[in-house]
Symmetry: C2
Amino acid sequence: MTAHPLHLPSGTVDLDAIPTDATPGFSGKKSDGKAQLFALGPELADLQERLFAEGRATGSHRRVLLVLQGMDTSGKGGTLKHTVGLVDPQGVRISSFKAPTKEELAHDFLWRIRKALPQAGYVGVFDRSHYEDVLIARVNELAAPEEIERRYDAINEFERELVEDGTVVLKCMLHISKDTQRERLLARLDNPEKYWKYEPGDLDSRARWDDYRAAYAVALERTHTEHAPWHVVPSDRKWFRNLAVGQLLLAALRGMDLGWPPADFDVDAERARLLAEDASA
Amino acid sequence: MTAHPLHLPSGTVDLDAIPTDATPGFSGKKSDGKAQLFALGPELADLQERLFAEGRATGSHRRVLLVLQGMDTSGKGGTLKHTVGLVDPQGVRISSFKAPTKEELAHDFLWRIRKALPQAGYVGVFDRSHYEDVLIARVNELAAPEEIERRYDAINEFERELVEDGTVVLKCMLHISKDTQRERLLARLDNPEKYWKYEPGDLDSRARWDDYRAAYAVALERTHTEHAPWHVVPSDRKWFRNLAVGQLLLAALRGMDLGWPPADFDVDAERARLLAEDASA
């Protein structure tokens, strides 16, 4: 995956230098992009089924964890629907993280995250994640600066643990412009079928746009590791965002070199049993 | 839903009298059936999104619980993939029930079931369910007869509670013939990509086919209630099974009369705030 054009370069992160409306690695138009995503479906579904089969039939712990982060309206839900929706829902576990409950706050920030990890063989998706604990937590001062500092390291250790246990951690930041957010928020206000997606509190986060940008930059920089790198996905164009995440997910699955689990029973003996049983019936 | 041709009639249940290869209510062929299922997709997805929106934006507890039961190879997984796969995976929660763990056995049989119930606004799917506790439990004498007796009533009470709390409980028994099961088991043994789906223990259950049939008949009869009726879905033809469950799910959602939640904020004021903020920026 390191060759992917959306792989974040190492070093200081300057989000303003990364265009939100570009289509890196893709030269076609919207209709081509949509067709190309759709065309990924069969291979994505096949590889996901192999992963699921492996988890069921072997002792392997392998699994995929797709982490989606981004500002409100960046399209975490839409990405999920259009990319993860291409595979069998049985092998997918989606977790949406909202403001922590009182019980969750009484534990370390990773407690609720660990509870939501996908089982072996699954594609887990985090719609928001442990990164909120260094993003909103930093912007709104929900934790002391030393605690936020500690968390970057804790996240890296946690993700290293996951990777060592056989998890492919695919982290995507859906990158939109402030103008795109305004358009999308207005669209929610203009369409009664979208009112439910709007929350007045979204404007409070929007008012802190630059602070969030800064918090993201630090978070990406501190947690962009060899074992769990970040991808910044230009997301002003929904179709490109979906295609890019679909391609990243496909690359992650391809990289796992997934076969079909061999039989852990004697195939011929089972066949004979089945046929004999029916002959005697 | 009571008018649906797959709605189990009241009274004594005789599964042998219900054909496994029929296509009740449908006169087309396989290709028509597949096209018709596909055509249900947009309305299913629309209604599921309304339900999800309601769960998110209002205090409503409404949700759907689809219970899939059937012998091995009856196609619980395939049904899920082809019908539930038509809606946004974000609004779906699938729970597969295997043999209970030691911890689960230390509790009442409904303990693990309650923990897996979908949240408000979700379509929950049970791939096997609390019914195993009166099916395999009865056939293999995993519980005393009095306890099995108690469970039928406990299930009815539990499901009534769910319905009163706003859950639509849609129960489907995927009904196949013993011959179809043999063909499908052989197909798993003939194709290395399907070995993982085969377990030698499946033949032990198959050897008790008649006992399972009897256990199903009692279970269906005892738990076929006004509030949570059973549907017996002829499942020898996979395409018909998928179409039938898709239609039942659609009927269930239609019956909920789902709208879009109204705004719980002042739309014009929010629009003004958003525009003013940008004007001053």
